[in-house]
Amino acid sequence: MARTYEPVIGLEIHAQLLTASKLFCGCSTDFGKPPNSNVCPVCLGLPGALPVLNERAVRLAVRAALALNCSIVETSIFARKNYFYPDLPKGYQISQYELPFSEKGWLDIEVEGRKKRAGITRVHMEEDAGKNVHGRGGDSLVDLNRAGTPLVEIVGEPDLRSSAEAAAYMRAVRDILVFVGVNDGNLEEGSFRCDANVSLRPLGETTFGTRVELKNINSFRFVQRAIDAEIARQTVILDGGGQVLQETRSFDPESGKTASLRSKEEAHDYRYFPDPDLPPVVIGEALVEEERAAMGELPSQVRRRWVDELGLTEAAAQTLSQHPGYVRFFEGVRAQVPGLEPKKIANFMQTEVLRGAVVQGQRVSFSVSEGQLAELLTLLDAGTISGKQAKEVFALVEGTDQSPKAVVAERGMEVVSDAGELESLLRDLIARNPKQVESIRAGKKQVMGFFVGQVMKATQGSADPKVVSELLEKLVTES
């Protein structure tokens, strides 16, 4: 009989730090430049070139570690990780090994309403390798623009128990890093990617099974599919009485399967040793405190504040705290209309504003300004326009610098709440439709809809249906 297995999963995430220049040289980190145009003797690995550490990279790395609840190690060391690869010109990658700059963090995730705390072993700094293009007539091409780009590697504890948890964890790390201004969260351009260690053990067992490392997963969907495929593969092996081999595998999204890259026997022997070109990194208390301050509120803190103090729903708080730009926009509008219920801003942002919002890394471009939205919501709140009209006005001012107030005035969209005008309209309708009036009097309330509809038509939608209904009821019963 097939046994039930428990998956044990830990992720290693690589995230690019948002610096202007590389980790150890002044070359630009701009993405999408012509191949090998952002290179110099340091990142090309030319003899005699010496690395000098980028201060901002250190600061952003510290900020990332703090946001992931890690403690900062005052003195850390850069080590050389030695291996030969075409995209690694020096023959070694500068990374941190025995003494990383931060360790022992955690992150709370939520999967299907269940909260869980996932441990983080360490966060360390390292440089990226170059980019390769394959399939050019028996050759591969190497572009070293990316070589030397600053990364943090976030090593997670093997605390995750399903592919859904792994995807939630990956997302949570991405959101936090984008939130604190460390990473652009761009999976397509490779500035955020992960490897997954996956093993199975019989349910109830406490020791770990043999793990397989899945390399270079660059989408949330793939992380889930890759892990599911690997769990299925290992289950078949274990059910058949076989043993899982320790190896590195890659996921092919087209076949939906993982394939072996190399076995344990072929595993690299990296011969790490402290890089003699780089003195120890000393991260002082002052720098740590500056980055803690720069980090500001974390998404989880923003959500708690919004729910507890502003009365937003968990779902609304979740949606609006997905990007720091959303938070700034919401808070910006709130500051302009302090009297307005925050819930109303949140609702309108979710249903209308976010649809026209375009996220690009750290930036969000909105189709309206904070000022336009504040003005529009003020008109709505004052009853000058109806909810339906607010949406229309929103669509009209999107992508323009027009004032909602001016648009409303121009189009005569103010809600007709002038009882006199509505009354004369209704009296006229009542006189012309005696049959329908009789029905209402006989208790057929649904016929009232006919009158309300006629009034809305006559006022081009600018009447408040509720006011019309009330007035109609009064007129029908009195006459």
Binding site: T19, A20, G26, N36, V52, F78, D87, S140, D143, K215
Partner: protein
């Protein structure tokens, strides 16, 4: 002898060095002497001494994050045996790291 032929062969493989028998024997001999020399340190009690990797500078100097031009692409590619405007040309390989 503390360094064996196998040790040297293993390091040679990792370093992609193809050694003939003569140079292998020579390296075994030389490395053994070097390691033996360093081993002199074992005569001292270093249990209270933190590992030291640097003596010249106590902490890494930091550089402001300012991008500046590197090498012109044609200069960067000039010494490569094979290159195209799209990159350094190398025998086909698979991304695996």
């Amino acid at each position: 002898m503390t360094i064996t032929r196998d040790d040297v062969l293993r390091v040679a493989t990792l370093a992609r060095l193809d050694l003939d028998d003569d140079s292998l024997d020579e390296l075994v001999h030389e490395l053994d002497r070097i390691v033996g020399y360093v081993r002199k340190l074992d005569e001292l009690d270093t249990s209270d001494v933190p590992p030291t990797t640097q003596v010249a500078v106590s902490s890494a100097p930091l550089r402001p994050d300012e991008a500046r031009p590197g090498l012109p692409t044609e200069v960067a590619l000039r010494e490569a045996p094979r290159s195209t405007p799209e990159g350094f040309r190398v025998p086909a390989f698979v991304d695996e790291t």
